[in-house]
Assembly symmetry: C2
Homo-oligomer: 458 residues x 2
């Protein structure tokens, strides 16, 4: 491994310059005017991959192409070698508003050890770190203990529309032991992190229909139910004052946090006062018996995302509104199933909805929660690699959001995802002045180099 | 009185023709392009009043003018004669949408004993009936047992903006024993009605502020309260499932319905199935122990008029919204006081609002409930006049809405209002094809003629 490590060290400057080349492509997948830039960027990734010794090709899709790049497969070995996928994306978020950037988004600049530019952190810097680690193996003739396939898509920022069907049609080629993803983050350079869990989601809308039209509240009020009030009463009882969901059976499948996991949560840097200031609330809130970090990442929630009813303009309008609607999302944790949870909520709402209004429930999208055992051999291997590269004890993290593609890998390829993100909380992903610390880039390459050794032992 | 009655009968055709002249003025107070029409209509009312022997003048205001017309005062009598005001308005609602009218709104047509045209019922037909009754007295030399002052304004459909200050500045001239208003309705020609009560109102907005901006529900959900949910919980407890308001002290000042009043309500024509069809609800609703007619006219209610929070567009947006707002109106009954009720609601909300959100309450307009004793001598006099004119036992009615000017008469002139409306429920006031039954017009004149006799005896 020393050869690999030395190679990475010696070529640091060139790698930064290549990352700048990569960032220079305005590969904005959402904007039609950048279609050819997205294509050019994909071609650059193929060329890079080929230059470092990978077998790479551009796979067209209905949208933007997917780059597939493989390490040369050992031909004569009798024993089956492990096979890992490395997932990343070469497309970026739109750069607007441009006037808020200190240097132009597609003219990368290094200032004080930090590279500024759209896509530097999300996700070009992170997937290039993986490619550079493999380059170090291949260019130094160091044997990789596993086979690798890079899957670098161009539609992550627009919903990974083409990737799911691509996974299905390339199921055999992509069969693997795990998917490594560097597209999340770590709390700080002193807290390298493995993200081992994500919350799932189920979204729905509830509409209550009352009178056939808005009624004069003076002439009719008192004889007809008010759908806005009925909605408040219906939804108000779905959650207690501390955030615990009161739908019968809601927590039945929730896998309790292990003592080990709670210990990991407790190691994360967190200051309640700073957090309260960050979110700007009069007082923090949350389910009893859990810390804020547990509440937002490892406990299910039910959130009203929007309310609509009656008159919303200036002044007042004395009506009993004809209908009232709420948009709701429920965040799920392992092992809650979006459809089963939705069925329980629907059943409960149907039971408690008064006969004076007609209820309509529209189920929306769903995503399963995700978790990989933090004490399993692959997770432990990733933790060792993180520690070797960053020189600090890594933390185990769950994220409160969902990354739908992780579920697709699990469903289609039956492979777990190891999320070893290299971003920092202040990287401004999706915002002006996106940046990537060069320390994250170089330590990240080192982590990737160690990862294949540790994972192949696992 | 026979002379008066004969005169009204003999001149029926001319009176209808004069009502057509009156309706022909497009005196739409809300539309600036009709400003001169409104003015011309006011002048016509002055001229009509003068022709029938009243002392009439046009009183300019900041808005549209007010017509004041008085019966000749008896000069030498020693005893003080009663003095009554007759309130009405010569302005009308806009006629749009014009394409829904069977005959043009300002080209009155009589079809099968019904006069069609904007303002025919609301309020030209009704105030002209009063003028014609007085004409009958004056032209037949029949002595009126009282002094009358007509106050016919031109801004009723735009909030009676100028009338309040006019009442204040003409307090001495307008001091009276009662105000007679024919601007409400009766259930049918067989149910002539005295409206003896109106509900009051107090309006307010509640806003709950949570995080300083919309937050990602995945990243933050579970650690901050959701203002939309907190609003549902806050408002959901203000009313029970049958419509009874649960704010402490809310019913303290409510004057119970007397046995006499409940008997009057029971006499009103009402079919639950027809009513349910009219309002188009799955099931009727209302406070236990009261009939629907009592619930909507003589019981207080709390109605949410509108709800606003978070994302209301297509699809879903996974946020914890920064704020949530409700518009609320509370209908009041005698002897509830808008300010006292508002203070109790505010106190209650402040008590139950959780510390995890910041509450803002904006009080809006208020109007006091109104009631005149239905068994008092003036009300009984009005009932006698109604019976004499329509030949049917009159009903006593409370209306669920508010008529703010009634409170102004009470406050400024200390005078009660006797609401003897001549409209029918299907008159389409404020809608296309407004109409006025000529039977209402002729019986209405007769009622007005009897009213002065009966009231002066009271």
């Amino acid at each position: 491994m020393q050869g690999v490590i030395d190679y990475l060290s010696k070529n640091e400057a060139r790698f930064v310059s290549e990352l700048c080349d990569y960032v220079r492509f305005p590969s904005v997948s959402a904007q039609p005017q950048h279609r050819s830039d997205v294509q050019a960027c994909a071609k650059w990734v193929v060329q890079q991959s080929q230059e470092i010794g990978l077998e790479a090709r551009l796979c067209p899709t209905a949208g933007h192409p997917i780059v597939i790049a493989k390490t040369p497969r050992a031909k004569t070995k009798g024993q089956r070698r492990p096979h890992f996928l490395v997932y990343g994306h070469y497309d970026v978020q739109p750069a607007e508003p441009l006037d808020l950037w200190k240097s132009p988004p597609f003219e990368p600049q290094v200032r004080k050890g930090v590279l500024y530019g759209r896509g530097a952190s999300d996700n070009k810097g992170q997937n290039l770190a993986h490619l550079k680690a493999v380059e170090a193996y291949l260019k130094t003739g160091t044997e990789l203990p596993c086979d690798l396939t890079f899957v670098i898509e161009g539609e992550e920022e627009v919903g990974s529309t083409s990737l799911t069907s691509f996974l299905r049609t390339h199921r055999a080629e992509l069969a693997c032991d795990a998917v490594v993803i560097s597209d999340t983050g770590m709390p700080s350079l002193k807290h390298p992190a493995l993200t081992y869990g994500l919350r799932g989601i189920t979204a729905f809308e509830v509409t209550l229909h009352g009178p056939s039209r808005d009624l004069h509240s003076g002439l009719f009020g008192g004889t007809v139910d008010n759908p806005a009030m009925a909605l408040c009463q219906l939804l108000g009882q779905l959650r207690d004052k501390k955030g615990r969901v009161t739908v019968p059976g809601f927590y039945d499948e929730v896998q309790p946090l292990s003592a080990y996991e709670r210990k990991q949560f407790a190691r994360l840097p967190f200051k309640a006062r700073d957090y309260q200031k960050l979110v700007g609330v009069p007082e923090l809130f949350g389910e009893r018996g859990f810390t804020p970090l547990e509440q937002r990442a490892a406990r299910p929630t039910l959130e009203i995302n929007g309310l609509t009813s009656g008159y919303q303009g200036e002044g007042s309008k004395t009506i009993v509104p004809s209908w009232a609607r709420a948009k709701i999302t429920v965040r799920l944790v392992p092992n809650q199933d979006p459809e089963r949870v939705m069925a329980r909520i629907r059943q409960h709402l149907e039971k408690v909805c008064p006969p004076t209004v007609r209820m309509e429930i529209d189920a929306g999208h769903g995503a399963e929660p995700y978790v990989v055992s933090p004490t399993g051999p692959q997770a432990q291997a990733a933790l060792r690699a993180l520690k070797l590269a960053f020189g600090h004890e890594p933390v185990l993290v769950r994220e409160g959001g969902s990354i739908p593609i992780v579920n697709e890998f699990k469903k289609i390829l039956k492979a777990d995802a190891l999320m070893v993100g290299l971003g920092l909380p202040d990287d401004n992903a999706h915002s002006p002045n996106e940046k990537f610390d060069l320390a994250c880039f170089t330590n990240g390459q080192l982590m990737c180099a160690h990862l294949w050794q540790e994972l192949s032992k696992a």
